[in-house]
Amino acid sequence: MAEPLSPKSFESNDPIAWCPGCGNFGIREAVKLALSELGLKPEQTCFVSGIGQAAKAPHYIRCNLFNGLHGRTLPVAAGVKLANPDLVVFAEGGDGDGYAEGGNHFLHALRRNLDMSYLVHDNQIYGLTKGQTSPTSEAGMKTRTTPCGAIEPAFRPLALAVMMDAGFVARGFCGRPRQLADIIKLAVQHRGFSLVEILQNCVSFNHVNTAKWYSHRIYDLAEEKHDPTDRDKAYHKALEWGDRIPFGVIYKSSRKSYDELLGDTIGSRPSDSDRVPAVLDRLLDQFS
């Protein structure tokens, strides 16, 4: 086997448009590390993203890329994976893209369990549109669209994922790229839908949940010997938020992935496209 490519060789030459100090840089480091250590070539991967600062991330990595519409990341990624199962498929975007605009797709992607990794950059605020509330903004948080403080409680995507028996559920932090890379590698290696929620600071619009704020609260699940196959415990860990915030692998399901089950239910598809005229003749016979 050839030498794995260096993390640096996964850097694209597209000029980066993020704010200096943005948490996205740490996530990019982690993605580069993970791709390199997984021994992948850029052309073996396909990143699908929507709209938002996080959704620009695939432009800054050397990979195949479909940068689609706001919130529509997961359906496009599902189409890519179904059409070409050989590609290592990533969906990548922010909390607004995935949990607000794409909420219904998120729910059904968890249910469908197609083999792909979903990286969510969660900074609890809208960046691209300049500082509006997000589904993961804490209740009471003041933003441009919640001047008196957010009324709704924050969405807890990880708890939802555990409830849905999602394939692989984990949390990382942009300030710990090494650990995040390891989590991403596990997510890719898991056959099924892998949700990697990434805590991320927003230097421009979120002055509450700063990098420091997260650093003081996070703790590593591995150090607590958390068993990710224990769904009850996983559910509690997924809901834990406040003074202590866990990161690492929260839950792993033994569910088969959609692609495996698809093969089980209707069998393998014909690979020979020359068969079409014969199939067509047979099908047309049924109308005579």
Binding site: L69, R72, P75, N84, H108, L262, R269, S273, V276, F287
Partner: protein, 623 residues
């Protein structure tokens, strides 16, 4: 086309089969229809269905003729009622000497000619299930029109093979009982004997003729085109297309996905198409509303996408199971921003089969969305189609006007046909990286005169593919450059000229009448009705010809302008309120329609109605 003339000796019998939802009316009309086609007749079946699962009032019209038919007939000679209470509603549809087959006399209106047959009892007795009243009705009808029971068993076998031998046997027994119940009464038997097949050149058993619905023909056309991924959220009238694909997914090698909503259906199909699978999404007008954003995405990212859009009366939920042609302008203008698209409007099952292949060819070649716009009537009707019309289109793509070196790998739409090219499990088409392309130098949106860029798929060795919904550079990265914006807008929209050329001129269906004083324009499923109405008008001395548009976008403006000489009168026939085709004619080629025959109550035009409507318009000036 000659098949639309009514030759001398043309004759027909019209039947109505009426009942409640859940009584198996579609089984009767299809079984009977296929048996009649096998016997050498031309059959046309239309469905009038309420949006409910049980009860209500549904009916099918079955027209049987010795010459081709592509519209409902006038008055019916036979009414088969699975529920006698429904007979009264059909009295206006019946010919004077019509026969009514019904269960009991109690609910029947006065002055009818009923044959009382205890269909449910026969079904219970011979088929061990009252629902087989529908099979008994098939048998009774066969006797009434003078056919025998030959081939009944074979037909039920073909219809119900998956339900097991016992079901077939009981259906046959019920049909035989129904047949005997009519046949014992010699006077009644053969009362509406079918016309002689003498005028039909290829009389007798015709394995080369099929009875197929528009929806099934669309699905089969897509299969012929090598579709690999089909997506949908169920919505009438597109659901039968998807259900057909689901049923045959394995043997046809399809991945069929019912998604959480239409937004997902369209985006999933785009993702699959980006990764190289020929992809199709099926929906109705309302679902298409939800897909507008994705339509625009396919235009911007230059992703080949085929959309089957079924029209039903709107706005909003409208009449869910009925027909209309009011999404004509919507389909042309849907989606934000400006991008090229094709909108095809097939008339019938035969055209639908071919339109599906055209749509894939155009979508692939021009890397942009292609819409097949149809309506409920066309999708649910059963059409008699000569099998040799349903051909796999193996056309190699003609070179674009500016042949370039890169065409080596973007002419692969040709090789996307079933003939060559390795395909993966999902039929993904491998597009070859051209020799001499430096590693990692591929530009997805490379400029070209035709607007079409070489298309590689993600996964190509040592190349990367970037697709972007933002305005982008030739590589596919985000840009806000004004100069690049201009180049990209021009590039994308340049493709329309190629599509226009490819789709060609609309058909003037009646060539001999090209000198006609009045041209009647229509699109989609109106063709059969209009064509027959014109035959009648010509017989009364009117100088009329039909122009049926089998595609409406890019609008064939040049061709239409060429047809419409100065002294010609133009009218349209269309199933909408505002005369959308007339608007399009005016806007795209400055042709002002002198009038429009419209219908928008959710029911298909009848021939008589179009005839009367046109006579008024045509007679005004020309007559």
């Amino acid at each position: 086309m000659s098949d639309l003339h009514r030759p001398t000796g043309a004759a027909e019998v019209n039947l109505i089969i009426t009942g409640r939802a859940g009584q198996g009316l579609q089984v009767i009309s299809r079984t009977l229809g296929r048996m009649l086609v096998r016997a050498g007749y031309h059959v046309f079946v239309s469905q009038d269905v309420m949006s409910r699962i049980r009860g209500g009032h549904n009916f099918a019209r079955v027209r049987v003729s010795n010459v081709p038919v592509a519209a409902d007939g006038d008055k019916a000679q036979v009414l088969v009622a699975l529920d006698p209470a429904l007979v009264a509603r059909h009295v206006p549809d019946l010919a004077e000497d019509a026969v009514v087959v019904a269960e009991a006399a109690a609910d029947l209106p006065e002055g009818l000619n009923p044959i009382l047959i205890p269909l449910a009892d026969l079904a219970r007795e011979h088929g061990e299930d009252p629902v087989m009243a529908n099979a008994a009705a098939v048998g009774a009808t066969l006797a009434l029109v003078g056919l025998d029971l030959d081939g009944t068993e074979e037909m039920f076998e073909s219809q119900f093979a998956s339900k097991g031998k016992d079901v077939v046997k009981r259906n046959v027994a019920a049909a035989e009982a129904g047949f005997r119940a009519v046949a014992v009464d010699q006077k009644r038997c053969c009362q509406h004997r079918l016309p002689s097949l003498g005028t039909v050149p290829e009389r007798g058993l015709s394995p080369e003729r099929l009875l197929i619905s528009g929806a099934e023909a669309l699905a089969l056309g897509a299969i012929a085109a090598g579709v690999r991924v089909v997506t949908a959220y169920p919505m009438s009238p597109a659901t039968p297309i998807v259900e057909y694909c689901f049923r045959h997914a394995q043997e046809a090698g399809l991945i069929v996905e019912q998604t959480e909503d239409e937004v997902s259906a369209a985006n999933l199909a785009i993702g699959a198409a980006f990764a190289g699978a020929r992809s199709m999404v099926c929906t109705a007008g309302g679902g298409f509303c939800l897909m507008n954003e994705a339509l625009s995405l396919a235009g911007m990212t230059e992703t080949p996408l085929v959309l089957c859009v079924g029209m039903r009366p709107g706005p909003a939920t409208g009449l869910a199971t009925r027909t209309e042609q009011a999404d004509l302008l919507f389909s042309i203008y849907a989606g934000h921003g400006e991008f090229p698209r094709a909108v095809l409007t097939p008339a019938d099952a035969g055209q639908a089969f071919l339109a599906a292949q055209d749509a894939f060819r155009i979508a692939d070649k021009y890397q942009t969305p292609a819409i097949i716009l149809f309506d409920q009537f066309m999708a649910d009707a059963l059409w008699t189609v000569e099998r040799n019309v349903l051909k796999v289109d193996n056309r190699q793509e003609p070179a674009l006007s500016e042949p370039r070196q890169e065409e080596r790998f973007f002419d692969s739409p040709g090789s996307l046909r079933m003939t060559d090219g390795a395909a993966s499990r999902t039929g993904r088409q491998e597009r070859q990286v051209p020799e001499g392309l430096e590693p990692y130098s591929y530009r997805r949106y490379e400029m070209s005169e035709s607007g079409v860029s070489p298309m590689l798929l993600p996964g190509a060795p040592q190349q990367l593919v970037y697709a972007d919904s933002d305005e982008h550079t030739e590589e596919g990265h985000i840009t806000e450059s004004a100069a690049m914006r201009l180049l990209m807008v021009d590039k994308r929209n340049a493709k329309l000229a190629g599509i226009r050329q490819e789709l060609g001129a609309p058909k003037v269906e009646v060539e001999v009448e090209v000198e006609a004083k009045t041209l009647v324009f229509c699109f989609g499923s109106s063709r059969g009705v209009v064509s027959e109405a014109l035959v009648r008008l010509r017989a009364r001395g009117h100088s009329v010809a039909m122009v049926h548009l089998d595609h409406v976008w890019p609008f064939p403006a040049g061709a239409v302008a060429g047809l419409v000489a100065k002294d010609k009168k133009v009218v349209t026939v269309e199933q909408n309120f505002s005369g959308q085709l007339a608007q399009l004619l005016s806007q795209e080629c400055g042709v002002r329609a002198a009038g429009t025959v419209r219908r928008y109550d959710g029911r298909q035009f009848t021939v008589a109605e179009v005839e009367a409507g046109l006579e008024e318009l045509v007679g005004a000036k020309v007559g």
